[in-house]
Subunit: 221 residues, 2 copies
């Protein structure tokens, strides 16, 4: 296989098969994601969510408590899943560039398979309040820190010097914005896009001003 | 001045000073942007817009017709302004890299001065229907095409070969995502950010796989 990023099989220690309850929960979160995606969080009612998920309004309130809690569960599920997948894929890979390429591929793959998710996460970034919000914020921070650490490793390994924060957030911009334009027929699959974006990003940071060696990229690949 | 991108003064042919009516219009659009930004388009009512802008509800309906038309005017004003500013700044600059740096700076500067605007444009991308939407879509296409042309010029001048669509949309991702994270105290001003992002992007595309010269960046700066 010519692909530069090998996808590892799930770890043996991965959680057991989801129960029927978990599957139904995920199904309902999926429907709710679609509704939030289409109508926006503010514009969507519990009645809309009931209609889309096939669960009675009373059932929705009983199991989920509120519309806010549904949004919280969607966000928690999405970020936890993407962080877990990323950690699992990074295990045993030590090359810093390869690890950044894995980050990009993992992010793109997840959101191409869950297209509505990224839009809901981006748009409803500020909809959650207090306790709900602080738990989600901490998972997001973990994700940001993992990416920052990947860049710091690259800097150390290749003696680069650039503004890590701007670089991480530029990379997030590149991979998050795809929900506004990605078209499978035109843009290829996640692997092709990850390769292209990885090239732009890795060659870009390898040649930043601060490196004092702009004309000599430090990439080994 | 050490800055790599000089900001040109407005052209002599720029539109005359805005009338009092235009100023009041822009003021109301500014208030409406804030309300949409805070509550989302679906969640905001004409009553909210009336309260924020200080114009009576009857007056709002009289002058603007509908909430949708207000969103349309905001989007039209934003995109037209940014495209006009860009065209004016590009006049007389022929270096392809410099022209891309101008694009980045123009975009960042505009949205840092109009922080709510970018969020409303991103979030309410699909809220407009039919006629309203097609007019906005055509201004957006023009903006996209200008950026695409800038990249095509760079490719020709430096004998580069990369996927222009992925590159343009990656760049849009980088500069659009700033509304989620930009912090003036930490991230410096638009010029500093434009310099960093321009470096990542320009050095990145100069070293793309397809160029067949990955290890030799073609940048002249």
């Amino acid at each position: 296989m010519a692909s530069p990023v090998r996808v590892r099989p799930p770890r043996k220690s991965a959680p057991a098969e989801p129960s029927r309850f978990d599957r139904r929960l995920n199904e309902i979160l999926g429907h709710a994601t679609e509704v939030f995606c289409e109508k926006g969080y503010e514009g969507a009612s519990m009645r809309d969510l009931s209609r889309a998920s096939g669960m009675s309004l009373a059932g929705l309130y009983h199991y989920f408590g509120s519309k806010e809690r549904l949004l919280y569960l969607i966000q928690k599920h999405t970020f936890s899943t993407i962080v877990e997948k990323l950690k699992s894929r990074l295990e045993g890979v030590s090359d810093p560039e390869q690890r950044i390429r894995i980050f990009i591929l993992n992010h793109l793959e997840y959101f191409m398979a869950n297209q509505g998710g990224l839009k809901v996460l981006s748009h409803e970034d500020e909809a959650l309040k207090n306790g709900f919000n602080s738990e989600i914020a901490s998972i997001k921070r973990e994700y940001y820190r993992i990416c920052l650490a990947l860049l710091e490793d690259l800097k150390r390994a290749n003696h680069l010097d650039f503004n890590s924060r701007t670089a991480v957030l530029s990379l997030f911009g590149m991979v998050n914005w795809v929900y506004t334009w990605y078209n499978h027929r035109v843009d290829g699959d996640a692997e092709e896009l990850a390769q292209n974006m990885g090239d732009i990003f890795l060659h870009g940071v390898a040649n930043m001003e601060g490196n004092g060696r702009r004309k000599k990229p430090q990439l080994s690949s």
